[in-house]
């Protein structure tokens, strides 16, 4: 049996804002097995980043607060660890790559220094060892003349190269899980293809598990083994990647896939669009959060929030309507 690396159960995170308490994550449960790539898809504000940040306790508190749930990593609950313990997990065993490589690198520190920092902190390397390892890492992520480029500052790197540095930094302590939060969103398509290729190669070489957060259904299709679709702080559909794209079930997933223009499109067809916009939840929803935008909506959808239920092997959907047959559940 493949070992379970991370098991998150009923995670709930709130944010206190002047307008009221925002329920960003409302009871999310998922598991991650060794070597697996899990794609997390959803629009902005659906809670995909907050879920992962909560697992690493990187939510600023206040205003944020993890109100319930557990996140078991290697037998220990990340949410209950002392701050000393979690500091060793972050960067050491679970590391993260953020969306914007310019704002996540320190502009007044050389790349070499920033790369060496986690190595000296987590692996107790001497500065000489850290330097050699940094050169190795930079070459690993495909930066030419790695030794010379250590003394450069972030502004001397291009966007794609900065993201490579971020990945090198995330990999520096051989993490078991790499969480990538929209790592290619700020990049051009040809550079995005380079980065996706790089991450795939490193995953196969180093055997780590990856959680890839994105709003781009195209990128996820090419990298993930399994995909979770999030909406309004819930997971609304989860399946193996091929199953999800071949048999999407939830009206929201259907809508998202339908709103993408087809690259093979020969004749012009109108795009399917989901009317309305994603909700901001000031209360924990008692109805399905997608109901106001849903074309399949039934009476029950306004009364009760559906739970994630299996519909096929490895495929779970939270919806009162079976969109395949049209029957109600």
């Amino acid at each position: 049996m493949v070992e379970q690396l991370l098991n998150v159960q009923n995670l709930e995170t709130h944010f206190k804002t002047p307008e009221g308490i925002v329920h960003a994550v409302n009871g999310v449960s998922f598991t991650l097995t060794e070597g697996e790539t899990l794609g997390v898809v959803g629009e902005s504000g659906c809670g995909k980043s907050v879920t992962m940040l909560s697992c690493l306790r990187l939510i600023a508190c206040p205003p944020g607060k993890i109100v319930a749930g557990e996140a078991i990593f290697r037998g220990k609950d990340l949410l209950k660890m002392s701050s000393e313990e979690i500091r060793h997990v972050r960067g050491g065993q679970i590391s993260m790559v953020f969306q914007d490589p310019m704002t996540s690198l320190n502009p007044v520190m050389t790349i070499g220094k920033q790369l060496a920092e986690p190595l000296m902190l987590h692996l107790n390397m001497t500065s000489e060892q850290a330097r050699n390892r940094s050169i190795e890492l930079l070459s690993l992520v495909g930066i030419p003349n790695a030794a010379d480029r250590l003394k450069d500052y972030p502004h001397q790197y291009s966007g794609g190269m900065r993201q490579r540095v971020m990945i090198a930094m995330a990999l520096s302590c051989n993490p078991q899980i790499l969480i990538a939060d929209e790592p290619t969103t700020a990049l051009d398509v040809t550079i995005q293809a380079q980065i996706v290729d790089l991450v795939k190669r490193l995953r196969d070489e180093l055997g780590m598990a990856i959680i890839w957060i994105t709003h781009d259904l195209g990128v996820v299709a090419s990298i993930a083994h399994r995909v979770m679709v999030m909406y309004g702080g819930y997971i609304i559909e989860e399946a193996e990647v091929k199953e999800l794209y071949a048999n999407p079930r939830h009206p929201y997933t259907l809508g998202l896939l339908g709103s993408l223009p087809q690259i093979h499109e020969q004749a012009h067809t109108k795009l399917f669009s989901i009317e309305g916009m994603p909700p901001v939840l000031y209360q924990k929803p008692t109805a399905c959060p997608f109901a106001p935008r849903c074309t399949w909506v039934t009476e029950k959808c306004w009364k009760e929030n559906p739970l994630l239920e299996p519909v096929a092997p490895g495929h779970r959907v939270a919806c009162w309507v079976d969109t395949k047959s049209g029957s109600k559940r």
């Binding site: 398509v189 293809a193 087809q262 795009l271």
Partner: protein
């Protein structure tokens, strides 16, 4: 689109260089070759897609066509009139006919103005009607972009990204223009909202017989909305063709690489398809490579590519490209 093609916009050898100044006396030491001699035509009622990576000069092209930048060289003809040679007042009057929708709906609306003032401003600038008439016009424009009429007294911060972009569209439509440049109008929006805005743009085009220059880096969306597509790289157009022709038979190696890099929401297809992964980054437009601009990243590059600029030619009927290797 009508069958006979009336040229609405004709761009001829358009060049836009931005000077670089250095030192105490601000001497000019070089220039950013943002747009370096491009020519194309936009037909009445069509959508011409302009794609390329960031920094390739596609936005500069749009702005230079509207004379928001004074071009370094070349001509832009709009309905036969050369915009470059127009006097400022004549150009100002010309602007009624051509409008722009901007990329960032958060930055392109003045936060201190109400929606009514934002949409009504072009009308006021051209003295179109009394205050009451402008109110009515704003209301009908809001209706047109499917926003509630009562929103007129609100401020931009009260709206979501998609709604703001609709306000931007309403402002662009206020003077009944015939030509609209859409500069990445959907790239800042969520996927489900993108489809809403694109559908709106298409409906408006049909209703008012608008002509669009649609600038974007999302190639699948450009394919969806455009009749013809031009691909830019480092200040020049490398390929231009009808959309199906371009996407089915890309000739230029850059277009081929760009198309193969599009993430496709189909896991079975993405496993099997052949991808061309380009090495390295786009060179600096301040110091573009000699000969062919693309040669530093091109898998086919040869000595001739280094020495000679490839000629812009019609490789097949209505399919233009600039490459030595075709």
């Amino acid at each position: 689109m009508t069958s006979e093609k009336n040229v609405l916009i004709k761009v001829e050898d358009l060049v836009m260089h931005f000077p670089i100044y250095r030192g105490v006396i601000r001497r000019q030491v070089g220039a950013v070759h943002a747009v370096d001699g491009i020519s194309f035509e936009v037909y009445q009622g069509e959508t011409l897609g302009l794609v390329g990576e960031s920094g390739c000069g596609k936005s500069t092209t749009g702005r230079t066509i509207l004379q928001l930048y004074k071009p370094t060289g070349g001509n832009v003809y709009f309905k036969g009139k050369n915009l470059v040679k127009l006097k400022p007042e004549a150009m100002r009057l010309m602007r009624r006919e051509m409008q722009m929708i901007f990329q960032d709906p958060y930055a392109s609306l003045n936060p201190r103005m109400t929606v009514r003032d934002i949409i009504g401003e072009p009308l006021m600038a051209f003295g179109e009607g009394t205050s009451k008439e402008i109110d009515d016009r704003v209301a009908s424009l809001l209706d047109l972009v499917k926003l509630n009429k009562d929103f007129a007294s609100r401020y931009p911060h009260e709206f979501s990204g998609g709604q703001r972009q609709r306000i931007g569209v309403a402002r662009a439509l206020a003077l009944n223009p015939s030509f609209i440049i859409c500069d990445e109008p959907i790239s800042a929006l969520d996927v489900s909202i993108q489809a809403q805005v694109v559908n709106l743009l298409e409906e408006l085009q049909e209703e008012f017989n608008l002509t669009y220059l649609f600038i974007a880096h999302d190639l699948s969306m450009v394919r969806h909305i455009s009749n013809r597509v031009a691909v830019m790289y480092l200040g020049i157009i490398v390929e231009l063709a009808d959309r199906n022709e371009l996407y089915n038979n890309p000739l230029h190696p850059y277009t081929q690489a760009l198309l193969s890099a599009i993430p496709v929401a189909d896991p079975v297809y993405s496993e099997t398809r052949r991808r061309i992964i380009l090495e390295g980054d786009v060179p600096s437009p301040a110091n573009p490579p000699s000969g062919c601009r693309f040669r530093t990243r091109c898998p086919l590059a040869d000595t001739i590519c280094k020495e000679q600029k490839p000629e812009w030619r019609e490789v097949r009927p209505n399919h233009f490209a600039a490459c030595h290797k075709i």
